[in-house]
């Protein structure tokens, strides 16, 4: 059955699945963040949420997890968009001068370099609640009972909060040795975990299935980042010291490329092992398999730039 799954994975057209969803998610996000008075803050929010070339990996994973259990795409879209909003909020704040002090993000100037530090803080502060508001006001109540919506809200809040991504960012800033795994899991694993879990929650998955999605999503989130670090190191554009220092908490920087490649392989195996538990859902699990291989192989380019 492992080989059958492998077959599914290779036959499944992830590129079409992904690009179709990106178009729909981008369209929803465009409508969810209109420009109103006071325009400046909406423009700052849109700048980051609608950044060109965004891969929309969290929303796509959320939709795929929801569809795995027979949930409707319509049930998942509002949460999928919310994931992108809270993710953008976290990234805007991570880039601030008092944090990572990054001047660019996704190949564009970072939010605060365009709109100012004050607007960037406020744009983040507004995107978090907008995400929650979007879920509660747009999720069709005939498709998703309110009790499930509450679990989704709690899940997203936990993921971005003081024991989740905020903890990862804090530990990354603090420095200190031997925390690379923990920091990576918090900074990059949480979003993957949360995305997969929310999809399952919306579709009414069982608790043991949610736990499985949790481990799967976390592994894929970290895997994606580890491979990013490896690709960046291999492309070997020499980085200035400043930037190197900030990238201290990557597997490549701490253990070197070879060990990072081993970690990536372990993560790929772990993610797929979790998916074996969903075999009874047949080919609907194919998108989740293909994310794992895509994270490693990057077989096609999604979006307009990486």
């Amino acid at each position: 059955s492992v080989s059958a799954n492998h077959l599914n994975s290779t036959q499944f057209d992830l590129k079409t699945y992904w690009t179709t969803l990106i178009a729909e998610i981008d369209n929803n996000l465009d409508q969810a963040v209109p420009i109103k008075y006071p325009e400046q803050i909406y423009e700052a929010m849109r700048y980051s949420v609608l950044a060109k070339g965004a891969k929309r990996a969290p929303p796509v994973m959320c939709v795929a997890a929801c569809e795995l259990f027979g949930g409707s795409r319509l049930a998942a879209f509002p949460t999928a968009c919310a994931l992108e909003m809270v993710h953008a909020a976290s990234l805007i704040h991570d880039d601030l001068p008092c944090m990572d002090d990054d001047l660019s993000r996704r190949g564009q100037p970072s939010n605060h370099t365009v709109y100012g530090v004050d607007m960037a803080i406020l744009a983040g502060d507004a995107l978090f609640p907008l995400g929650f508001q979007h879920i509660v006001s747009h999720t069709p109540s005939d498709l998703v009972p309110e009790a499930r919506i509450l679990r989704v809200i709690a899940e997203i809040a936990r993921a971005v909060g003081s024991t989740g991504m905020a903890a990862g960012q804090f530990l990354d800033l603090e420095g200190g040795a031997n925390q690379v795994r923990f920091v990576q899991e918090k900074k990059y694993g949480e979003m993957g975990e949360c995305s997969a879990v929310c999809g399952g929650l919306l579709a009414g998955a069982e608790d043991d299935e949610i736990r499985r999605l949790r481990r799967y999503g976390r592994a894929v989130g970290v895997l994606y980042q580890v491979v990013n670090d490896i690709l960046e190191a291999k492309s070997e554009i020499p980085e200035d010291e400043e930037k190197k220092k900030k990238k201290g908490k990557s597997y490549v920087a701490v253990y070197g490329i070879e060990r990072a490649a081993e970690v990536a392989e372990e993560l790929r195996e772990r993610a797929k092992m979790e998916l074996h538990g969903f075999e009874k859902y047949g080919e609907k699990v194919a998108p989740l398999y293909s994310f794992v291989d895509y994270a490693v192989d990057r077989g096609f380019s999604v979006g307009e730039s990486s």
């Binding site: 803050i41 507004a126 909060g161």
Partner: protein, 304 residues
């Protein structure tokens, strides 16, 4: 019929506030525990448990009880409102915003923990507020909790706190602003969260739509009232009396009610807003409405 019989018992506002604030403080203390990473949680707790009069959480609970709910139904929401309020203060005090060193008589969060932690602690409080309502509210149907979450979210973002802050920042030093701009700032910066507090309480307590809307109007009036009084105090009191930097509106060349209407005009406006607010409560059971009536009077007459 006896001499002891008091036909119109006076409401003891002071002991009501003390008792409610005490319960809220205990609930807040329990809600954010010291966990790893310790420094973020210390930072969250530093500002969240820094005292303050807990006006917003008490409003939330009072509204819940007014429509027939129990305190316990509104307590997680009351705490969430205070978390949001605290988060907005932490971020407002940052050097890139209002650059304040003093808050509630203590050094501001970033002065103690650094700017990076202050930003993260604020973000974490914001997120936790939603988590707390979603998982800790008991005795209320999920549908009502979801409705409360929608209201809370609205009161924070670009239709609430953030919108007020944006227009406030942009208005500094501008000469051609009028009462409409000032109202927009305060309806969003201050009134939105007070409205959220009252409306969340009313929804969670099981209020009818009509009751919720009456209380919403009440909250909007006391929200503006709160700011008018704040502006008056900023020019009439010292930093020591306020527990925060006095006169900073003048220094920052901010638009204020005294600047537009004069001190006397501002006081007259405050009086009208208080009257309009209490008008909304006239059809409720007056004994049950006593805490909200007293809260409105308290906001109107406070000295710091």
């Amino acid at each position: 019929e006896t001499l002891e019989d008091n036909p119109k018992p006076t409401f003891d506002f002071k002991s009501y506030m003390l008792q409610k604030a005490n319960t809220v403080n205990q609930a807040l203390d329990a809600s954010v525990s010291l966990r790893e990473p310790v420094k973020i949680h210390e930072s969250m707790r530093y500002s969240l448990l820094a005292g303050g009069k807990r006006v917003r959480p008490v409003l939330c609970i009072a509204a819940c009880e007014l429509v027939g709910g129990d305190e316990s139904m509104a307590m997680p929401a009351a705490c969430a409102i205070e978390m949001i309020h605290t988060m907005s203060l932490i971020h407002d005090d940052l050097p890139c915003m209002d650059n304040d060193d003093l808050r509630r008589g203590k050094p501001t969060n970033h002065k103690v923990f650094g700017e990076d932690v202050a930003v993260l602690a604020g973000d974490a409080l914001l997120a936790f507020a939603f988590e707390h309502i979603a998982i800790s509210t008991t005795g209320v149907t999920p549908a009502r909790i979801v409705r409360a979450i929608a209201e809370l979210a609205k009161s924070i973002g670009t239709e609430g706190l953030v919108a007020g802050q944006v227009v406030d920042i942009r208005s500094e030093g501008q000469k051609d602003l009028g009462i409409k701009d000032l109202e927009f700032i305060h309806e969003h910066k201050t009134a939105a969260l007070l409205e959220g507090a009252v409306v969340l309480g009313a929804i969670l307590g099981g209020g009818t739509n009509e009751e919720v809307e009456k209380l919403r109007t009440f909250a909007r009036c006391i929200g503006l009232l709160f700011q008018v009084v704040d502006d008056i105090l900023d020019v009439t009191k010292s930093s020591k009396e306020l527990g925060k930097t006095a006169g900073k509106d003048l220094v920052a060349d901010k638009l204020t009610y005294p600047k537009l209407l004069g001190i006397e005009g501002s006081k007259a406006l405050a009086e009208k807003l208080n009257k309009d607010a209490q008008q909304q409560l006239s059809e409720f059971d007056q004994e049950k409405a006593a805490p909200l009536i007293a809260l409105a009077n308290y906001i109107a007459n406070r000295q710091n």
